[in-house]
């Protein structure tokens, strides 16, 4: 590793103990010897296996649930429906005051996406649980469904989620998150060129090598140990506490070792129902997604649609930017209201633009609920923004990297959210990138700095 000490020499502290040195990972010896204990590596005797009966419809009303045949299946110990769950309607981000609660642990009358959990079957073996789950009879009235964000926002579209009352998340700023800075219309009016483009993405599955799951062991005294591969230990503990209406002191969560996650294991899906199963049977419970469930049921990165309109001058300055962003939450909020909000903050890009207007919507559809994934809310936005930057540079016949130097934010610039830029270092990063990629730019850009206006 090479440290370029010529940058920010006046601010640099030398004699660092960690930065610039390679350090072995603490968990590596366990990994290479096969001794690292993942949640499923604990051999618990007398364990029950949980399998879900899932909705085969994207949107339906449950007329009736008949578990009588399944209950008779050899090896079945317990079958759970919505009425067994103490607090069945929840939302993950309620812990940071993002509501309303809008998702059911087990479907209560109305599944809103294909794959939604309806009935949980606990049995002596995985095979018995699976066979019994296939014997649960659910009578559905299929309802019209909506899969497209623009369709979902049209008047008269099927209402996906009654807990919201409309097919978008209602922020305290209204139907979308908004950024308003300068006068975007005046900016467009004075621009030499205007370019409006739309970008869209599909959901992306994390596909961790270890599937989502947990093993719950009742410890006596109404206390439960939950071995889990959650990436969000305290969200999971606190939400389980709410869903089960049990004080957190009764719940002992053991985690920290995750066989791949990438954001796909931050939702609170497997733990509460497995703990409930352990509580109601008095036996250890294992609930582990099959590979098929991991691919079909776990929340993907949200599909997004982003419309960017930029006004640019012949000399390369972007003078106005208007962005409308749509995040497809699927049927439930999970982390998507936050993802859409992050997009609103991110769409100005790392650029200084005097006139900015942004709206981002979190939209509900009858698709698999989306949630966190590596930089969710901004990753697809960056793809769109940087493709747009290349198109703008081409439009005015300018080198795309030089075009970015002209617009890069520098210390002291006011950002669209009215936060002055500090410690930007973007110019210096681009200078190094220019060298590393062997993509030369004019000398005046190599002479620029994040501190001072020049060039």
């Amino acid at each position: 590793m090479e440290l370029r000490k010529n940058y920010f020499a006046d601010q640099r502290k030398d004699g660092l103990h960690e930065i610039g040195h390679g350090r072995p990972r603490l968990d590596s010896p366990g990994h290479v010897t096969g001794k690292t204990a993942y949640f499923a590596d604990r051999n618990v005797p007398n364990m029950l296996h949980l399998k879900m009966v899932r909705s085969p419809h994207h949107h339906a009303r449950i007329r009736s649930i008949d578990t009588s045949e399944a209950e008779k299946h050899p090896g079945v110990v317990k079958i759970l429906t919505a009425r067994d769950v103490p607090h069945n309607v929840y939302t993950i981000l309620i812990l940071i005051q993002v509501g309303p609660e809008d998702e059911t642990v087990l479907a209560d009358g109305k599944p809103r996406w294909k794959g939604e959990a309806v009935v949980a079957v606990l049995a002596e073996t995985e095979r018995a649980a699976q066979e019994a789950a296939a014997k649960v009879k659910v009578d559905y009235e299929v309802l019209p469904a909506v899969f497209d964000m623009e369709e979902a926002l049209k008047p008269g579209a099927p209402l996906v989620n009654e807990y919201h009352g409309q097919n978008y998340y209602l922020y305290d700023s209204g139907e979308c998150r908004k950024v308003r800075f300068g006068d975007v219309e005046a900016g467009f009016a004075g621009a030499d060129h205007i370019l409006e483009q739309s970008y869209q993405s599909s959901p992306i599955e994390h596909a961790p090598t270890e599937t989502t799951g947990c093993v719950v062991v009742p410890e006596g005294n109404d206390r439960f140990t939950c071995y889990t591969n959650t990436q969000a230990m305290f969200f999971t503990l606190d939400n389980a506490s709410i869903i089960l209406q049990m004080p957190g002191s009764k719940l002992h969560f053991v985690g920290g070792t995750v066989g791949g996650g990438f954001g796909g294991k931050v939702d609170v899906i497997v733990e509460p129902i497995a703990i409930l199963g352990a509580k109601l049977t008095g036996r250890p419970v294992s609930f582990i997604y099959s590979r098929e469930e991991e691919m079909q049921i776990s929340s993907p990165r949200a599909a997004e649609k982003i419309i960017i309109k930029d006004g640019v001058m012949n000399d390369g300055r972007i003078v106005a930017r208007k962005v409308t962003g749509y995040t497809d939450a699927g049927a439930y909020s999970r982390h998507s209201p936050y993802g859409a909000q992050k997009g609103a903050a991110h769409y100005p890009g790392p650029y200084t633009i005097p006139n900015v207007w942004i709206d981002t919507y979190c939209v509900y559809t009858n698709r698999t609920p989306s949630s966190a994934m590596r930089g969710f809310g901004v990753t697809i936005g960056d793809f769109a923004l940087e493709v747009q930057m290349d198109k703008l540079a081409r439009l005015i016949g300018m080198d795309p990297l030089e075009f970015r130097f002209i617009n890069a934010y520098r210390d002291g610039d006011m950002k669209a959210h009215r936060q002055p830029t500090e410690g930007a270092a973007l110019i210096e990063c681009m200078q190094e990138a220019s060298r590393a990629a062997n993509w030369p730019v004019a000398e005046k850009y190599m002479a620029m700095s994040s501190y001072t206006k020049g060039a």
């Binding site: 051999n43 596909a207 599937t211 990438f262 590979r291």
Partner: protein
């Protein structure tokens, strides 16, 4: 369900168990014998995390029926270190930063071991081919390939 006996050598030790007929070797190793170093990632033979060595050949333990392994010599990553000293491949994975979450690592090391046992001086292409059945979702392939090549280079220097 009918139980069947299985008897094999695991990392040099005799093992004997009764399992349900049709039980996979992965299940028998993990849940019966207690060797959890083979991991169950897909249970359908595509991720490679459950790879073990049976009679010198790389096998997917999730697709191998335990009762067909009677009399076999089975090797897993948990038995690779000898007298507390890491195998050169384990050392190379450690040094090359070739593990991230670690879930694919035991399978990767087994695949690499079979390659080096059969081809002591592999090309980069040989390594890529040998590891192609093992999926790493943390995108650690480059350090993994480097770890295998480093081990091979060290082996050939020792031989020379």
């Amino acid at each position: 369900m009918a139980k069947v006996p299985v008897q094999f050598t695991l990392n040099g030790s005799e093992k004997a168990e009764f399992v349900d007929s049709g039980t996979t070797l992965l299940h028998a190793l993990r849940d019966k014998i207690g060797d959890t170093s083979p991991k169950g990632g897909c249970h359908q033979g595509t991720c490679g995390a459950c790879s073990v060595i049976i009679d010198g050949e790389l096998r997917l333990s999730c697709l191998t029926v335990a009762e067909t392994c009677s009399g076999a010599d089975i090797r897993t990553t948990s038995g690779l270190a000898e007298a507390g000293v890491l195998h050169p491949l384990q050392r190379a994975f450690l040094d090359a930063f070739a593990t991230q979450c670690g879930f694919c690592t035991p399978g990767m090391i087994m695949a690499a071991k079979v390659l080096l046992d059969h081809t002591p001086n592999p090309s980069r292409e040989d390594v890529i081919e040998a590891l192609s059945g093992n999926i790493c979702r943390c995108t650690g392939y480059e350090p993994i390939i480097e770890a295998v090549l480093t081990t091979a280079r060290a082996n050939s220097q020792n031989a020379a």
